[in-house]
């Protein structure tokens, strides 16, 4: 369903993604893990047409997203790391707008919106403005919206960041349920290793822009002689904290942006 070959992304001198390759099968839940600044979000941005790769090949359902942008976009849904809802509209209106943008046939729209909002337990609050929602409700709405146009692939970029264990748990139950009933391939990133262990069938670990290991959670644990995925992750990526380096490059990018270098 997703095939990535020798993908590279450079920001000026900085190599954000260095020659990575991987494949995700249809109907699979695939976790993409890595420390901060490892290149996860950059990779997702390239997969979802928001960034153009410097070199390498991407195939989504047989389509190259850099050339068939809109056809590719029609085939995937995405939940971003940070929220992307319209707070000034109600949940229902947010869903409706998405349905129109993704050309969900009018007849299906109402039915599908109701089904998803009910599944994510938002139907009672459907006519409230989204800005009055709690963080967990917003996340649920975003994920429900991601499924609305029956995508073949759903990208989830740290969807559970900042949520309590109850909400996280429930979210993954729903995602798994829809993965099974609608055969949606799920590509996710998270910092919670227990989640990845529980939900994902296969995992790739990325660090410093390159993939350092791939396999089932079981294989990764065996490979590193660890009993938990967290240990395996630390064994593979080391225990140094990368935060600072990452933010300073971010800051640089911010300054560059401010001065009009929009790259």
């Amino acid at each position: 369903m997703i095939r990535v070959q020798n993908l590279v992304k450079k920001f000026g001198e900085f190599n954000a993604v260095k020659d990575i390759s991987f494949e995700v099968q249809k109907g699979e839940i695939f976790a993409f893990l890595g420390p901060n600044g490892a290149g996860k979000t950059t990779t997702i941005k390239m997969l979802t047409t928001l960034l153009t790769p410097t070199s390498g090949k991407i195939e989504l359902d047989g389509l190259d997203p850099t050339h068939h942008r809109n056809e590719a976009r029609q085939r995937f849904g995405i939940v971003f790391q940070d929220p992307s809802l319209d707070g000034e509209q109600t949940a229902y209106e947010n869903m409706e707008l998405h349905a129109v943008l993704y050309k969900v046939p009018r007849k299906l729209r109402a039915e599908r919106i109701q089904r998803l909002l009910s599944l994510f337990e938002l139907w009672d609050r459907k006519d409230d403005l989204v800005k009055t929602y709690s963080g967990g409700m917003k996340r649920r709405l975003e994920i429900a919206r991601g499924f609305l146009h029956t995508p073949k692939i759903l990208f989830l970029d740290e969807p559970t960041l900042g949520l309590d264990p109850q909400t996280r748990n429930q979210l993954w139950t729903h995602v798994k349920h829809l993965n099974e009933t609608e055969q949606v391939t799920v590509f996710l990133t998270t910092h919670y290793m227990d989640e990845a262990d529980r939900v994902a069938q296969r995992i790739a670990i990325i660090d410093h822009g390159g993939i350092v290991a791939q396999g089932t959670p079981q294989e990764l644990k065996q490979q590193t002689n660890s009993d938990s995925l967290e240990q395996a992750f630390l064994a593979l990526t080391g225990s140094t904290i990368r935060d600072e380096a990452a933010t300073s490059t971010d800051q640089m990018r911010q300054v560059a942006k401010m001065w009009g270098n929009r790259r």
Partner: protein, 248 residues
């Protein structure tokens, strides 16, 4: 087409829902109208130019449309910050449709604001020369709105933070307003000012609106109409270009 419509509708919904903002944004033009209209009225009359309220009302309506339409484009900053812009940019819809939906929505809101101020003007004592020319006035109001909503979209696509917003307001929008002939007649201006006013797109909008509402314009209406249309097309292309280059 439906993408343009739903994004246009969103702009309208946001407008109708923010009642406090509607009132707040009408405050400034009303103040200009009352303070200048009545305050400068006697001087203007003594200079032999007739009623200043009659003269300034089209200017204040244009100002309302200018502020409202540029602001709607810059409001993209909030959508960028709160993330909604991303939702529309990854949708399988050509960017030009998204840009048009937003821009037309902003322009429509600006025309509504202009109409509200027109009503305030009527209450304050402003009288249009012929009621039959009102449709023509609406056409010009729509053109002004389109020109500056497109410019607003271009600005909104470029700037990334609140500082940029201040910069645009103080160095673009305010000069466009003050140098447009909204507040003073275009005749007998000092040379430099005469040249600058003629470079300001709003000049032709104000002039056309004045022609339609009180029957007195500096340029011919046909000239204003064609020039504004050309500028509208140019700014829409500019807005579309910058909008297409947004990277997140």
């Amino acid at each position: 087409m439906s993408a343009i419509y739903i994004l246009w509708l969103r702009e309208l919904k946001r407008y109708v829902r923010s009642k406090a903002q509607i009132i707040a944004s009408l405050g400034q033009p009303v103040m200009y109208l009352l303070a200048l209209g009545f305050g400068l009225g006697p001087v203007f009359q003594k200079a032999g130019n007739g009623s200043y309220l009659q003269f300034v009302a089209p200017g204040v309506i244009s100002m309302t449309i200018l502020f409202s339409s540029v602001f709607s484009g810059i409001a993209m900053l909030w959508d960028r910050q709160f993330g909604f812009l991303k939702e529309t940019l990854v949708a399988p819809v050509p960017r030009i449709e998204i840009m048009l939906g937003r821009t037309l929505g902003g322009a429509t809101v600006a025309v509504i604001q202009g109409c509200l101020i027109l009503v305030v003007c009527l209450i304050a004592g402003f009288r249009p020369a012929h009621l039959s020319s009102l449709p023509l006035a609406f056409l010009f109001m729509a053109l002004i709105a389109l020109v500056f909503a497109a410019l607003g979209t271009a600005f909104g696509s470029i700037i990334q933070d609140m500082q940029g917003f201040q910069l645009i307001m103080n160095f673009m929008v305010m000069p466009i307003f003050f140098l447009s002939g909204a507040l003073f007649p275009l005749t007998n201006l000092p040379k430099v000012l005469a040249v600058i006013t003629r470079l300001d797109p709003l000049t032709y909008g104000v002039d056309a609106l004045r022609g339609a509402l009180i029957g007195a314009s500096h340029f011919s209406l046909l000239w204003n109409l064609s020039l504004l249309s050309v500028i509208a097309v140019a700014f829409l292309s500019l807005g579309a270009y910058f909008f297409s280059r947004i990277q997140l």
